[in-house]
Amino acid sequence: MNDLISYIWLIPGLPILAALALTFWPVAKRKGAAWLAISAMALSFVISLFAFGAVPRSAEEGVVTRLIHNFTWFDVGTSSMRIGWILDPLNVVMLVMVTFVSLLVFIYSMGYMEKDPRFVRFYAFLSLFAGAMLGLLIANHLLVLFMCWEVVGLASYLLIGFWFQKPSAAAACKKAFITTRIGDLGLFIGMVWLYGEAGTLLFYDAGQGCLESSSLRLIASLPGMAGMTAAATIGCLLFFGAMGKSGQFPLHVWLPDAMEGPTPVSALIHAATMVAAGVFLMARVHPLLTYPDAGTQALSFITWVGAITALIGALAACAQTDLKRILAFSTISQLGYMMLGLGTGGVAVAMFHLITHAFFKALLFLGAGSVIHGCHDEQDIRYMGGLRKIMPVTFATYGVGMLALAGFPLVTSGFWSKDEILHAAAHWHGHPAPFIMALVGAFLTAFYMTRQMCHVFFGKNRLQERENASEEHPVVPHESPASMLMPLRILAGLAIVAGFMGTPLFPWFQSFLEGGTLEWHGTALFHGSTLGLLIGSSALVLGGLIVGWWFYSSLVFDPLRDKDPLDEKLPAGWFATLRAKFYLDEFYESTVLEGARLLAMGAAWLERHVMIPMMPLFAFGTRIMSWITRFWDEWVINASFDRSCKGIQNQSERVSTAHTGNIQFYLQIVALGFVLLAIIWIWGGGQ
């Protein structure tokens, strides 16, 4: 079973091959294209399951068993570039999750994209997207990871801008690409630095890898920037990349705009393939951050950024009216939680939330897609309402996802994973503020999800009040086809069950990732502050749900006519700030974009007032130069050559008169020469 590692490349390989095949696929063969992509992904899923079985569980605390397969990529001179695949508990859970969620999204897209003219291309992009993410997961080399990371960025660009005929989508895909690229610059510098210090980018290489103790000891002993060690500096630089990719403040601005893509793409971006990459990267390089001598600055930085992101995302989500944008901000907020968990608790805490979040966020997005599909591409939650009776399956599954995201006590996965993070934050030695921010965020999460549920599923339907609806062509919402509902049902089940693999009572997930004996902790709940925290967070969540219901229940509130209750309760201007996402886009508009614009204007001024007036001068200089060269050519080079040619010609004419053409004359000359030679010979005594 252990030679499975040498075939592990098939997991990303199959979807990428499918993407390649679909590039040349006939446009009309839509069914076949979908089934090709789906079967490639299903095969990857099966291989991932085998891989999951192949990774041995370590019984020793803190020791993780890894399967490594390194090989030479190419040789340069005497040194060779070695890359490799890795299989360890960290990426194997991700592999299973990503292939599974992608598979469901692929199946779901069959229904959602049914009428799109570029159906085949959509599947090609989706396959590339998922394949690149899977390649990123199995890479045992930071450069390979980075390459897959960039392909993920490219695929996200293509998919967010899939409906590029919409100007907003075209702008959104550019924004996503450029914003993540800013973070990638940090990642790239960190990578180069790491290579410079450690001499290798292989993560694990029989004691020689850059995440193994000999390299770590070296890097942690070197000085970095701003008083940090090199290890902490490189950690911060790598985190910049993760900030861009995983939508951390202040580089999160691309994520809400990315909602311009088709909804299955949003589900894929938010659950499985894109934003998870940043968290995964930080989990992968976690040994670098936690090495004893490395200093804690990088971890503190990650913690603070995570906490701020968690709070800001939750606040902005409270005031949005676009169904998918609310979910986008909730993703930003949850990613903040993951980073917070990574900074305070470690890999297992963050990864647990990543996995559970992937399931319920995929569920929520696919549910949102079902709602949008059923409401004929309406995305404004103020015009929805009453869908509870029209779309019962979507309502039930969406409700499960919403409760899981809010962290409804005991029965949902979100509760257990978020509680782990809160627990870790509470015991952080740095500062109590991140913990308090996380608590506020938890309350707000429950609140804004209730707000959304009330708008979409309760009350009476308001689609008819849209301007384009009329008496003759009424806009009637409908339930979605079975291919879209099936993934919803499966994900709803997982959104509940996934939490039970990591409860404090039976922490299977944590021990799988970090090693250690696994046993039933019957009393773990009553140990230390665990129970108090559980009760406290439960109270917060329930409070959020109740406040939300109290504000937005259909009995007291009509979204189309009334002012938002939050707007009334808060001081003037606060709600508008939240709705405008803290004016961050406007801030970037007025600083970064305005700066670029000023630069361009400056260049234009320089062109107009300096370069153009100088043009005649340049022209004059060029003319003088050409006169000089012409003189030199004609009177020095050409003249001397011509004259010597003339001389040769004259002499040749003179010589040529000797050629009379008369044979007898020639013979006379020959005879004369012979006689002369004979005379000289005799004169000289016959010697």
């Binding site: 040529s656 008369n662 007898q664």
Partner: protein, 103 residues
């Protein structure tokens, strides 16, 4: 007549007569005749040197002369053919008019 010199003098005289004819005659056919005389002067030299050579028992000088005579016959045929060709072209056998290669 047991010395080489009179034979060589005869040969040299024959050669000079032939050469004079080649250089001065205005008729291509007679020029060819001059060439034949020069060849025969050379043949006399061959035979004379062979006769007075220490190893005169072999037939090398005679064989050489026989070859030369055969080749001279062939050469005379070629020469006459050339003369006829020239005559057809120029309606004359005077070498003075053959000046096409004049520089």
């Amino acid at each position: 007549m047991d010395t080489l010199i009179p034979y060589l003098l005869l040969s040299a005289g024959l050669f000079c007569v032939g050469l004079t004819g080649v250089m001065l005659r205005r008729n291509a056919i007679l020029i060819l005749a001059g060439v034949e005389l020069m060849l025969n002067a050379a043949n006399i030299n061959f035979v004379a040197f062979w006769r007075f050579h220490p190893g005169a028992d072999d037939m090398s000088g005679l064989v050489m002369v026989l070859f030369t005579i055969a080749i001279a016959a062939a050469e005379a045929a070629v020469g006459l053919a050339l003369v006829i060709s020239i005559f057809r072209h120029y309606r004359s056998t005077d070498p003075e008019i053959l000046e096409d290669l004049k520089g």
